[in-house]
């Protein structure tokens, strides 16, 4: 049912695109067929899979890193007023430092390496996660907190059964907006210092002004993300929401 609705809305989108592409210059809005043809060619050459694969790996690695550190930091800031006062300013500065600057500095200091790339992405995304989870940690239910304290919940129990369920909506928001952010930054990072990946491909085709390739790559990545969302995030989310 949900799948059907998703499929339906995807088809609707496709139809709208197809119709729009009839009426304008195919170079500014290529038709779905043209994009599909590009993708078939690119897949046949093996580039598509390779680029998507390498980008996906970078997104995954930096996403996990950023989620873990960002969540820990955000929760700490949300719960401790002192920590918040001390770290709020650096956090905001980091949050507002452009991806370009962070990336360039990471490449300068750590060399043009994979580690630098992944660290740069994680560092870009981390403050975002922290800011979102801080709001979550600020709003914890004091009644449940007292209950947990009265019953001497140990740390693990508290985290798993009291903290995480309350942070869940914030974590989902951070994850959803975060995956996409990570991948957007990976593009910048790949553009500046990696010889492969979707970011490289996009900047390459952008040089050639191949709009079909741009749309093709970004759609394939969206599709991958939709799949990740459907297979991973949504079931997790549904499980966490069973009680509602």
């Amino acid at each position: 049912m949900a799948l059907l609705a998703r499929l339906g809305s995807a088809l609707l989108l496709l139809a709208a695109w197809w119709l729009a592409s009839r009426s304008v210059d195919p170079r500014t809005l290529p038709s779905p067929e043209a994009v599909a043809a590009f993708l078939v060619r690119e897949a046949a050459s093996g580039d598509l899979l390779r680029n998507i694969g390498v980008t996906l790996w970078r997104v995954a690695a930096s996403f996990c890193l950023a989620m873990a550190t960002g969540a820990a930091l955000g929760i700490a800031l949300g719960r401790s007023r002192a920590a918040d006062r001390l770290l709020d300013t650096p956090l905001l500065v980091l949050l507002n430092t452009p991806a370009l600057v962070i990336t360039v500095l990471a490449y300068i200091w750590l060399g043009l390496t994979e580690t630098a790339a992944i660290l740069a992405v994680a560092l870009n995304k981390m403050p975002n996660v922290a800011v979102i989870l801080r709001e979550g940690a600020r709003g914890l239910d004091p009644g449940l907190e007292e209950m947990a304290q009265a019953y001497r919940y140990d740390r693990r129990t508290w985290i798993r059964h009291v903290l995480i369920p309350q942070l869940e909506p914030f974590a989902v928001a951070a994850a959803r907006s975060g995956v996409s952010l990570a991948w957007k930054i990976v593009l910048v990072v790949e553009l500046l210092g990696r010889p492969n990946g979707v970011g490289y491909a996009i900047s390459y085709y952008f040089q050639l002004f191949d709009v079909a390739a741009l749309i093709g790559y970004s759609l394939v990545f969206s599709a991958v993300m939709l799949a990740v969302d459907a297979v991973l995030l949504q079931p997790l989310d549904a499980r966490a929401r069973r009680w509602r």
Partner: protein, 311 residues
């Protein structure tokens, strides 16, 4: 042209990049009133980078930009009728530190090698082909290529993290001013493929429609461009309005930038440019394949504009 001169001069919008030499030329044209003399009014449109320039051209926000031959060829092959007017033959080079022990391409084996523009950069493809044919060396495997943004690579070369770097000419000029030297230039590489003279891989790109609509304006602009270059070649005086645009931090950088620019002024006929370009294009099509050059295996017909002063 006389009829037009009487009325208001026709405007022509040219895309200018912060470090592009087009803005130098435009500054001279404006400062010396060359555009008015040729019956047009040159309007510079500032853009942040070559990507922005291409978007602006595609979207019709500017009438012409300077871009590379391959891009123009690809556009034309894909059905957008554009014309190419050679602008400069100045090209990038493979740079090494002044004190480097490297003296030949063959010596690159095992070295860390920065490449601006990525694995499909045309100079990198040509360099690889040359190394394979002349030295029997597969650079992609034998050396350690590192791809990245040119400023970053320049910095890495300076800090010693790279042994050599294949960079665009403005970066080369700056490095030269700091005591780095060219191991081999793009022209040197191209020679290996039977190219006869300096070949202008950069040029103004116009829509053919504009040419048909306002042939006099475009021709006037071509003449204005040539006159500005002559003025710059003629002596120091013309450089006054250009100097502040160059972001040259010292005299040495200024001098090398200036020399490199002047060396690149195209002086050959369109026909000879074209035949050399065809030769190079064939090599590139073979090396880079469809991803580099698009569907056309040979340079599309009618790409070069013959109406210019060289034609």
């Amino acid at each position: 042209a006389g009829a037009q001169q009487a009325s208001a001069p026709a405007p022509l919008k040219v895309g200018l990049l912060p470090f592009g030499t087009v803005s130098w030329e435009a500054a001279v044209i404006k400062a010396e009133g060359i555009d008015a003399a040729e019956g047009l009014s040159l309007e510079g449109v500032r853009l942040a980078g070559s990507d922005a320039a291409r978007i602006a051209f595609q979207g019709g926000q500017v009438d012409t930009i300077v871009s590379d031959l391959l891009w123009a060829a690809r556009l034309r092959a894909e059905g957008r009728a554009v014309k190419f007017l050679p602008y400069s033959s100045t090209e990038g080079a493979l740079m090494v530190p002044g004190g480097s022990s490297l003296t030949s391409v063959a010596g690159l084996a095992g070295k860390r090698l920065g490449v601006a523009g990525g694995p499909l950069d045309k100079n990198w493809l040509l360099l690889r082909a040359r190394a394979r044919e002349k030295d029997g060396l597969d650079l992609e495997r034998a050396a350690q290529p590192v791809f990245g943004a040119p400023p970053l690579l320049m910095r890495k070369l300076e800090s010693g993290e790279l042994d050599a770097a294949l960079l665009y000419w403005t970066f080369c000029a700056r490095l030269e001013a700091r005591g780095f030297r060219r191991l081999i230039g793009a022209d040197g590489i191209a020679e290996a493929f039977g190219v006869e003279g300096p070949i202008a891989l950069l040029g103004y790109v116009f829509d053919e429609a504009l040419l048909q609509r306002e042939p006099h304006t475009v021709a006037g602009f071509a003449r204005a461009s040539a006159r500005a270059k002559q003025a710059l070649a003629a002596g120091e005086a013309a450089w006054a309005p250009v100097r502040p645009l160059m972001a040259a931090e010292d005299e040495a950088t200024y001098a090398t930038l200036k020399r490199a620019f002047l060396d690149g002024i195209p002086r050959r006929t369109a026909a000879s440019e074209r035949s050399d370009a065809e030769r190079l294009y064939a090599v590139l099509a073979r090396l880079g394949g469809e991803r580099l050059v698009g569907a056309a295996a040979t340079l599309p017909e009618g790409l070069y504009w013959d109406g210019g002063p060289n034609g």
